[in-house]
């Protein structure tokens, strides 16, 4: 694995263009666009304020930079560096800004979620969408970019509006049977919309594209409910992670639960491979601790780590969350399917340093990766069944069905580095 030299970026704003050719990073109020292969600086743009959010358009021609404090959005063109666009939301404020799938409209959510303003870069036209809901995931675009689902709340009731992204025509508007809608997500084939309730009620509703309710799923009552939801890339499975530390898989034909994955503290499964990260610090003798050595040798503090396979039974470290606090750190918060839908990676919040990999063909646990510190994020390779994860130290960990490896990333500081994963071809 080759690493580039380290270059600065702030606010964890570092994104690769969708076509994979350019890399954009933000440093304070500057936007730097580099070529991915050579890392040469191609363009340099200056914004009016510190950039809070940056995103590429789908055709990799434009970049939007949002400055929430100022309520400004500036759009830059890669082809024409002189082209400029500035959207000022005025007194109404700005809370979030995003591209539409066609790359020609910008959706700004105003402060207090008063409305969503749709700015068109083609016609300078403005559209407004009222009553958007402020929730975990209130807006979702279908994968083919044709439709947008928006969660609304009117008169203490939840609604979902489906818009056609072409001309922002309201296609469907229906009420959902949720108490307090927390999020919605399109299935990858764009035909089914999964809608889930807040954590106070375990309820997942499945709506067809035309607004019909296909199915409702509720695993249990009362206890804290759904924490995270994700579709498999083939649209076959819907994985629901909940606060009871379990993941439930629904199938797309009957919308019934076909499997349930539990994250237990003692792993007795002999078929699963448990990888444990073992760090070994290089042994330092007392005479070595001269200033000279310390200043020169960053390797003094760089620990080598490798994976060891632990035989079952294995005890997984569990951290019990504070029962009095809201949004407890318990339950399955992160779910990710591999691109071929064969594997599912999950993270249970009270076993924060452990990543679980499940085999979807056998519906059983395949591997457990236990790290030395809490896992910050993980992501699958878009082409191969390969999982990359990071825990906030200077190493990158990779898992594949063949095995597990930890790679040292050459950075000087042991800070969190952005896990903006663009896997190598």
């Amino acid at each position: 694995m080759n690493f580039s030299e380290v270059f600065k970026q702030s606010n964890q704003l570092c994104k690769v263009s969708p076509d994979g050719k350019y890399l954009a990073t933000c440093v304070q109020y500057r936007l730097v666009v580099r070529d991915v292969s050579t890392l040469q600086i191609l363009q340099l743009y200056t914004c009016l304020d510190q950039i809070s959010h940056m995103d590429w358009s789908s055709d990799s021609l434009f970049i939007l930079c949002a400055m929430y404090k100022r309520g400004l959005v500036q759009v830059w063109s890669l082809e024409q560096p002189d082209w400029h666009c500035k959207i000022d939301e005025g007194s109404i404020g700005l809370v979030s800004s995003r591209w539409s799938p066609d790359g020609r409209h910008i959706l700004n959510t105003t402060e207090f979620h008063l409305r969503v303003t749709v700015w068109s870069l083609c016609t300078k036209a403005v559209s407004y969408i009222k009553y958007p809901k402020a929730c975990q995931k209130g807006i979702d675009f279908s994968r083919d970019g044709c439709y947008m689902a928006l969660a609304e709340r009117r008169d203490c009731k939840d609604y979902v509006s489906v818009f056609v992204c072409d001309d922002w025509h309201l296609l469907r508007h229906f009420e959902t049977e949720t108490q307090d809608l927390a999020g919605l997500e399109w299935s990858p084939n764009g035909c089914v919309l999964a809608v889930w309730d807040s954590c106070l009620e375990y309820k997942v509703l499945l709506y067809s594209l035309d607004g019909r309710l296909l199915s409702t799923y509720s695993a249990y009552e009362w206890s804290l409910g759904v924490k995270s939801v994700t579709w498999s890339p083939s649209s076959q499975f819907l994985a629901i992670g909940s606060y009871d530390e379990k993941v439930r898989i629904l199938n797309h034909i009957t919308w019934k639960k076909i499997a349930q994955f539990e994250h237990i503290a003692t792993i007795n499964n002999t078929k699963a491979v448990v990888y444990k990260e073992v760090e070994k610090r290089p042994a330092v003798g007392s005479d070595d601790l001269s200033l000279h050595n310390i200043t020169i040798g960053t390797t003094l503090f760089n620990t080598q780590s490798k994976y060891e396979i632990c035989p079952p039974p294995v005890q997984v470290p569990v951290v019990k969350p504070d029962p009095d606090r809201a949004n407890p750190k318990i339950g399955v918060s992160t779910l990710a399917f591999s691109s071929d839908s064969r594997y599912l990676a999950t993270k249970n919040d009270n076993m924060a340093s452990v990543v679980w990999v499940w085999d979807m063909q056998k519906m059983s646990l395949l591997a457990v990766l236990e790290q030395t510190s809490a896992v910050r994020c993980f992501q699958w390779d878009p082409r191969r069944p390969r999982l990359a994860l990071c825990t906030g130290n200077t190493k990158l960990y990779l898992w594949s069905p063949a095995g597990c490896v930890s790679v040292q990333v050459p950075t000087e500081d042991q800070q969190t580095w952005n896990s903006c994963f663009m896997t190598l071809a």
Partner: protein
């Protein structure tokens, strides 16, 4: 006399008699007491007669004394008169004794009766008590059983209680978490509300309202390059249509997939059915009591034939599907029962066969075992030998040995190579020498040639001049060649020159012989050398002449004929050279 005394007291006598009868074991005991007197009489008559009075007396006195009574008869004097008083006393004592005995007997009988009644009573009570004990034992077990059940119940109730408590706890936890979540949400909403209020205030206060605006340099085209359309009903309808199209296509895809899956599964089921039918039908001869099944199997086969002909149409019909699944179920059940039957048969057969076939099987088993053991042994030996060889090859040596051994295979060859190398070296040296000699000879030759040419020239000149009348003056000028002057003028040295040359090949002083003939040539001598006048000269000139051709050949034969005779000068050198040549080779 005793008869008369006895007659007086008949009832007592009776008693006495009965006691006397009892004292002495006699077969008359069984007789009844009514016939006693007769017996008594009979007995008494037999016991004591007039003849044996004394004996009887002594006997009786003995007996009486043995009973502890005063003696009846004193054996003092010789008189046979009995002391009547003593006898009466004795009799009275005896009667008392008898009475006492009877009393004791009575008492004992009473005692015995009492004890037997006691015994009976005790037995009765014991049986009663045993029964009571049994009863109480049963009661006890019953009570224990009840207690056990009650304990179980208690345990289960405790478990229930624990579960309920846990449930309550869980619900309480849930309530607590929900409450904290609600509180959190409430606080968040309140914070947002406050922010909103502040903002509203700020906006009301703020005169200058910043309007929304977009500032674009120029409009950019749509992503797909098309022109945007007006929002009309048509477009709306189009959108609806597209949406439904997407949905339909998705359903289509799904349906197709399900169809494929279905078809595959049906194929598999058909295959299974065929296999099962074939298995069952092949087992037909072994089944004796399955006549009815044969018919079914026949029916199935017919069905199958029917089915396969109309497969594609039939399978999509619900009835056909049901038929298929039902038939599969039926076959599967049959197969299962068949397998179970086989299993039973096999187990029975095994049990029945065990004794008969034990010997046979064991024999074969043992044979097999022996064979395998032999094989194992062979393999082991083989492995052992291999191991040993391997050890030999890889075992560590001493260094010398190692080096020796490592060289040993090559030693012979090395020796040979060394010898060859030596010879080759020698040869090389020789060749070098010869080469050097040749080069030197060539150099010398060239020098000599030059000298010879010069000499020839001078000689010719001289000759020419000699021919003229004033030739002698130039004689000493003849040999201008350096070598000729320098080297010896004696003939002796000339003679030994060739030898010298041979001895010292490197020292090419070949000019020496050459100069010899030069120093003092006379025309007479020269004529033969010039082959003008062939004469019998010494061997040397002959040789010289002989070698003329050789030398001419040697010197590349470019020498004209008139110079041939001068070649003899070089003959020496050539001669020696050739000599050297021959000597070396």
């Amino acid at each position: 006399m005793p008869e008369s005394s006895l007659d007086i007291f008949p009832p007592k006598v009776k008693d006495i008699c009965s006691s006397s009868i009892e004292c002495r074991p006699s077969p008359l005991r069984q007789s009844s007491q009514s016939s006693l007197p007769l017996h008594r009489n009979y007995m008494l008559s037999t016991f004591c007669t007039e003849k044996n009075v004394q004996e009887c007396l002594s006997h009786i006195s003995q007996e009486v004394s043995s009973l502890g009574l005063p003696p009846v008869w004193m054996e003092s004097g010789g008189s046979s008169e009995m002391n009547v008083v003593a006898v009466l006393n004795c009799i009275y004592d005896l009667i008392q004794l008898h009475r006492r005995g009877l009393r004791t007997l009575e008492n004992m009988e009473v005692e015995q009766l009492k004890s037997s009644s006691n015994l009976d009573y005790l037995q009765l009570t014991s049986t009663q008590l045993k029964e009571q004990l049994e009863l109480s034992k049963r009661e006890n077990t019953g009570l224990l059983e009840r207690e056990r059940q009650l304990q179980l119940k208690v345990k289960s109730l405790q478990n229930c209680l624990k579960n309920e408590k846990e449930e309550v706890q869980k619900l309480q936890n849930i309530i607590a978490s929900r409450a904290s979540q609600y509180n959190h949400e409430m606080k968040r909403k309140e914070r947002e509300f406050n922010k909103l209020r502040e903002r509203l205030n700020q906006l009301l206060v703020d005169k200058k309202e910043k309007k929304q605006a977009i500032d674009v340099l120029n409009n950019i085209g749509r992503a797909d390059g098309k022109r945007s359309l007006w929002k009309t009903e048509k477009t709306e309808a189009k959108h609806e249509g597209e949406m439904y199209k997407t949905l339909l296509s998705d359903y289509d895809i799904r349906q197709r997939e399900l169809l494929l899956e279905n078809a595959e599964l049906k194929k598999v089921l058909q295959q299974m059915k065929k296999d099962m039918v074939s298995i069952l039908s092949s087992k037909k001869p072994t089944l004796k009591d399955d006549q009815h099944q044969d018919d079914d199997i026949q029916a199935d086969l017919e069905e199958e034939v029917f089915d396969s002909s109309k497969e594609s149409v039939e399978l999509y019909c619900v009835h056909a599907r049901e038929k298929l699944t039902n038939s599969i179920r039926l076959q599967w059940r049959r197969l299962k029962s068949h397998v179970e039957r086989l299993d039973n048969q096999a187990s029975l057969a095994q049990i029945g066969r065990s004794k008969n076939t034990d010997a046979v099987s064991r024999e074969t088993h043992e044979e097999e075992m022996d064979r395998l053991k032999l094989e194992i042994q062979q393999c082991k030996d083989f492995i052992q030998t291999q191991h040993q060889l391997l050890q030999q090859l890889s075992s560590p040596y001493d260094e010398e040995k190692a080096s020796l051994l490592s060289d040993c295979y090559m030693l012979q060859e090395k020796e040979r190579f060394r010898d060859e190398w030596k010879t080759l070296e020698e040869q090389r040296k020789i060749f070098e020498r010869e080469r050097r000699n040749f080069t030197e000879a060539a150099i010398r030759l060239s020098h000599e040639r030059k000298a010879f040419e010069d000499d020839r020239a001078t000689w010719l000149k001289h000759q020419f001049l000699n021919l003229s009348p004033f030739a002698d003056s130039n004689k000493p000028q003849m040999s201008k060649s350096k070598s000729a002057f320098l080297i010896s003028k004696t003939e002796a040295s000339a003679a030994s020159a060739p030898e010298k040359l041979i001895k010292r090949p490197s020292d090419t002083t070949s000019p020496t012989p050459r100069c010899v003939p030069l120093t003092s040539p006379s025309t007479a001598e020269l004529y033969p050398t010039l082959c003008l006048v062939p004469e019998n000269r010494s061997t040397k000139p002959k040789r010289l002449t002989e070698h003329v051709e050789e030398s001419s050949n040697f010197l590349n034969g470019n020498v004209p004929a008139q110079h041939k005779h001068w070649n003899d000068r070089e003959d020496h050198s050539s001669h020696t050279l050739t000599k050297e040549k021959t000597s070396s080779i």
